[in-house]
Symmetry: C2
Subunit: 161 residues, 2 copies
């Protein structure tokens, strides 16, 4: 999958699982994440939703933010993400934006569901139209809605010169 040592991948993944287990002891959620670049650990994260009152503070998001802070970059090019569990749609989306070299995870979303974390429900909702969602969401037209993208296109064009 990537150039590197499978033994090292297993070790980092075991560390992500250990972080997840330790997180429970500290009152957090049972999820951990490690991000490496080469042979260096850039960031570790645990689910900190309830501790920090931040619904986005899943282990992967916490680790991605810290790894990017340390790299001084909004991209994780060449980095590997090790997650104790299969990412939820929010975290998977974050990985598409961060573009790491590879992602490994240990437990599956089905195992997470058996422990009470229903990521599958959110996966099921992703392809639905607004009216079919359990989340109440809808488009509302406002006259100015094109203005940000118009400004962006002019800005990008200006930068291109």
């Amino acid at each position: 999958m990537h150039k590197g040592c499978e033994m090292l991948d297993v070790r980092y993944l075991e560390r992500a699982v250990e972080l997840a287990r330790l997180s429970v002891e500290k009152g957090g959620g049972p999820f951990g994440c490690v991000i490496t670049c080469g042979d260096q650990v850039l960031a570790e994260g645990v689910n900190s939703v309830t501790r920090t009152n931040d619904p986005t503070a899943h282990a992967e998001i916490v680790a991605i933010r810290e790894a990017c802070r340390r790299l001084g970059s909004f991209q994780l090019s060449g980095c590997i993400v090790y997650a104790s569990c299969e990412p939820c749609p929010m975290c998977l989306g974050a990985m598409y934006w961060a573009r790491p070299q590879a992602v490994f995870y240990a437990s599956t979303r089905k195992e997470a569901a058996r422990a009470g974390f229903d990521d599958q429900h959110i996966y099921d909702e992703m392809p639905l139209a607004d009216g079919e969602r359990t989340l109440r969401i809808r488009r509302m037209g406002v006259p100015s809605h094109d203005a940000p993208f118009d400004a962006w296109k002019k800005h990008v064009a200006r930068l291109a010169y």
Copy 2:
């Protein structure tokens, strides 16, 4: 859709669009978000990915984190999210976790795509199996992978007494 005044909804959505337009002038991405609770604005956010080197710093995530910080809660119960553009899968996932009362947006993902923001690609990837994704992701078994969920179930059971 929710108890409240459509006029106010339009005003808050126009403010989200204005934030998105102003964000471009300041070198940020063309996305803005406002979160209200009752008649109070709890948080405003703009896309700060490049400015803060944080690939998760979409306008909605920035605003959700700030609103939750102000509420001292990891849930946005009773709150309304106004986004200048249809949320990407990462931000939509965050909304499922944060559970606001409703979400309104102005531009669609198709309009975002025409401006160069290809959220649709990530939507298309969401239902795929690991081997079909453009993101390199796969499950790797480690002997300890059940330990965090086992610890969690014991922890939850202990709390229930």
